[in-house]
Amino acid sequence: MSVDIKTTARSQVTFRAIAAHAILITYTLIALFPVFVIVINSFKSRKAIFREPLSVPTPETFSLKGYETVLKQGDFVLYFQNSLVVTVASLTMVLLFGAMAAFALSEYRFRGNLLTGLYLAIGIMIPIRLGTVAILEMMVASGLVNTLTALILVYTAQGLPLAIFILTEFMQGISDDLKNAGRIDGLSEYTIFGVLVLPLIRPALATVAVFTMIPIWNDLWFPLILAPAEETKTITLGAQVFIGQFVTDWNAVLASLSLAIIPVLVLYLIFSRQLIKGITAGAVK
């Protein structure tokens, strides 16, 4: 009798595991499908792309024409570099200032603490694009149009609210005793923040980094409006040159999109490793 109960319980567990994996695998397939299509088609000749968009490249249809076009257009390396500079710089600023604000909000009791927190969090609900006209006017007035600085500033502002919100929650969970021990040993507030607190919220930082990074890398709106000049174009904007009103060079578009995936993928891998490390470290302790 008891054996029966055990086996049913176990088969239930197995069933649940299978169901969960089935759902996750389906989701992964759906999510990866467009990426997969882009990548395989970037290696095919133009005709093959349209004839059989879902088939993998064969010796007959294989072509690197798209990549040749993209790389021959010498500016592409520059676009890449612009995108990387903007993303990494914005990300650094968002994480640094976000963490500092979160530390102040969670650690210090001061008049208006709650109000400041709310004010900073409201940004999550209001899309920054609503302020595009005002932002453009400000950038014109300060002479920052067509500079990467303009993009970095806007993206920092865009990323901060969510970063502060998430990081404040995490920081409130860190033991007061540890910070107090540091104070008794004579550590400055900056050291306590940088050396004691930051390493403990690494998983949260990685999460925020991933959520901040992707929209910045993919953004077309602000590069188009604030920095459309040749020398400040980002990769997403740069890829648009192949999409014409009358003819579109699909090989080149697909190749540039495929290439654009690589840097985010690398950044993502770095952060997700941190994320997993943080989670397991917490579990072992």
Partner: protein, 333 residues
């Protein structure tokens, strides 16, 4: 080594007053324990002494100097926390030496002090390990070592044993007691556990709701509690409180009698009751008897005894050891 003096310390969080005027003098070399129920403000008071929390009003003197407004690291104190609070990224040695490094003390002095502390706490084999590689008891010893290395005027302990299991708790308690003897250091120690307080303290400060109920040596508090709260808090099992009317005594509101001062005696019975539960501890036996109006009464007998649940027993109270309390809970002498 230093003395500590608190003058009319008050602390409010928003509109809630948590510490309501504390006056206290701790002599040099004394081990004073703050004891009281959870949430009565013990930790807050300790953090105020450390400078981690700002007092709303009042004066704090360490070694005769007013330290109000001074940062924690300037007050010449060390603190041991309930959660150990070791720096996770540093080795045991670096954990212990960080405070002195921050104060820019010479390297050989730091090494000498760390070695002294680690020998005292048998931590020699663990000096190069990280906190994550230590057991709870070892972590707490490192935290105590970190406190010793600073050679403070005043040691502060905030429930240092609460996260340890029972056996380790006794060991570490003995270690702290021997530490106090060897260093003859001034210590302020916070706990909610009256056994810890009774076994360790030179003097106990009983706190309740942000005020001091009574200050005294463990035996003073046990023998002459000032009020019902102290009488109930000190001693285990807890003192029995019986409405005076049940005993036909008119000069008090409540009568208190410790479990160890009750005997069975049919001839001189003060109360009769029905046994409802019995706890055999080997060394002694606790019997709980339901005495109707008088409530549940605990009797503590030395040695091993048997009693049938639901059997009727007659209780005799040792008149000399009875406490009488008035309507406000104060002891009547």
């Amino acid at each position: 080594m230093g003395s500590l003096s608190l003058k009319n310390i008050r602390k409010s969080f928003g509109n809630v007053e948590v510490i309501k005027g504390i006056d206290l003098d701790v002599k040099e070399g004394e081990l004073v324990i703050f004891v009281g129920p959870s949430g009565c403000g013990k930790s807050t008071l300790l953090r105020i002494i450390a400078g981690l929390e700002t007092e709303t009003s009042g004066t704090i003197e360490i070694d005769g100097n007013t330290v109000n407004g001074q940062s924690p690291s300037m007050r010449g104190i060390s603190m041991v926390f309930q959660t150990y609070a070791l720096y996770p990224h540093l080795t045991v040695r670096d954990n212990m030496s960080l405070g002195l490094k921050q104060a820019k003390r010479p390297k050989d002095l730091i090494k000498k002090r760390v070695d002294f502390a680690s020998a005292m706490l048998s931590l020699d084999d663990y000096l190069e390990r990280r906190p994550a590689e230590l057991s709870g008891g070892q972590r707490q010893r490192v935290a105590i070592g970190r406190a010793i290395v600073r050679q403070p005027k005043l040691f502060l302990f905030d429930e240092p044993l609460s996260n340890l299991d029972a056996a380790l708790r006794v060991n570490t308690r003995l270690e702290i007691a021997s530490l106090h003897r060897q260093l003859s250091a001034t210590m302020v120690y916070v706990t909610h556990d009256q056994t810890e307080a009774m076994t360790l303290a030179d003097r106990i400060v009983v706190l309740n709701n942000g005020v001091i109920e009574q200050v005294g040596t463990p035996m003073e508090l046990y023998n002459k509690p000032k009020n019902k709260f102290v009488a109930g808090f000190i001693g285990s099992p807890q003192m029995n409180f019986i409405p005076a009317s049940c005993l036909e005594m008119s000069d008090a509101e409540t009568v208190g009698i410790r479990p160890e001062n009750i005997t069975f005696d049919g001839a001189k019975a003060d109360l009769t009751g029905k046994v409802s539960h019995i706890e055999q501890l080997g060394g002694d036996t606790n019997i709980y008897a339901d005495c109707g109006e008088a409530g549940l009464i605990c009797i503590r007998l030395f040695g091993q005894h048997e009693a049938e649940v639901d059997s009727t027993i007659s209780l005799h109270f040792d008149r000399d050891k009875m406490f009488k309390f008035d309507k406000d809970g104060n002891t009547i002498n």
